[in-house]
Amino acid sequence: MVTERNRVGTWVRVRGSASDSAGEVDGWVLTGLLTLHPTLRLSQVPVNSELGDADLENIDDPELRRLYAVPVISRVSAQMQLVYQRGRLLGNDSRVVTKVGDSLTADPLYLTVLGREDNELGPFDFLVETMVFFGPQTGVESVAARVGMSTRVVFDPMWTRNALCEPNETPLACEYRLRRPSVALIMFGPNDVLHMDVDAFGSGLREIIEESIQLGVIPVLSTFSSHPESQVWEKTLAFNLTIVDVAEAYGVPLINLWSAARSLPNYGLEGDHVHMRHSGYRYLKFDIGNQARYGVSLRNFLSLRMLDEIRRTLGMS
């Protein structure tokens, strides 16, 4: 039986008699890899808040160790309450969440599927309210998410592609003005790592965070998955650590997608080692554990889980 789960919900502790051995089994398993009883609701399972998201015991490399040590879903700091309140005063809509990033983020099956009525959350019943809260507003294409977008060109008006945007308006500014979001899910790196150094990347990220905070938008950063066989593997680690550093410096929420994706086949990536793999479903299907197999499903799951953390912490209603 399932006796407890981790805070995120991605791992459950299973205890019981094994059918093929005399002994008892007791261990932590990825939730998505189990065939769970259809009536199981993770909201009813006790949460083990002490459990880390990664076992650091056998990781010697200091960079890897730092990356693994970052929680998959961060807590929401008190500063974000102030950002949220500022946004409300500026006219931002609590129920609007937008996305900012490159082709991985522009992916039509990322985030926009939260509003579908045929989503199957399976045992993750505690996420339903948040999906209903944010989902209906997620179907709109983001001006700030586009193939080829980077932390640099998100400030370049030539990359703004929407008739409603004003002359000289950057993609980021236009998206925030048009949508008035309370939260922005931001992921850069897979594209930037090929074209700029880590200092320029950090500088761009900070600029995005500062503009978001100034406009009362809670910026949620995310690390990105990378493959050890990639030619830029070492550089991806440095970029991901920069994302972690920037998130910590500004106290903004962080999704550690890199860490969560370590347990997925091919790290949740396509054969190009850049883009995330799709499940084939055009809606959320967590009841069969897609989030434990496919990168896009995992990212949707973690984004929803982070939105849940934000909504509950800030009392959004």
Partner: protein, 128 residues
């Protein structure tokens, strides 16, 4: 021919030569549309030196970003560009910049641009 007439002819030739030389040195001075086209071509080529001379002073600090607009895409080219002056400080362009990202193309339609007069010439100064 008298000495006086000879000097007059030499002076007239000198004046004509000066006029021709000065006109040849600044062919775009009176044509902001040509400056905009020149700037867009330089931008597509990521030619920072060329762009520096065509960018207005208020945007000088954005030169590096301007020169890296297309750094994440490949095979960048301008298609069917046609620019013409549409206001005192405005140039409107038709045409598209097309670039490739992996197997797919991404487009950047040309629009209207602001131009300002600086250093006795027209400079590109962002979108209008």
């Amino acid at each position: 021919m008298s000495m006086r007439k000879r000097h007059q002819r030499i002076f007239a030739c000198w004046l004509l030569a000066c006029a021709l030389i000065s006109a040849g040195c600044a062919p775009d001075e009176g044509d902001p549309a040509a400056v905009v086209e020149q700037y867009l071509r330089a931008k597509v080529a990521s030619d920072m030196n060329e762009m520096r001379g065509l960018l207005c002073a208020e945007m000088e600090n954005l030169l590096e970003r301007e020169s890296r607009t297309f750094e994440t895409v490949t095979n960048v080219e301008i298609q069917e560009m046609a620019c013409e002056r549409s206001g005192e400080t405005t140039v409107s362009c038709s045409g598209t910049i097309v670039a490739a990202y992996g197997a797919e193309n991404t487009e950047f339609p040309l629009t209207s641009y602001r131009v300002v007069r600086e250093d006795d010439g027209w400079k590109w100064c962002g979108e209008a």
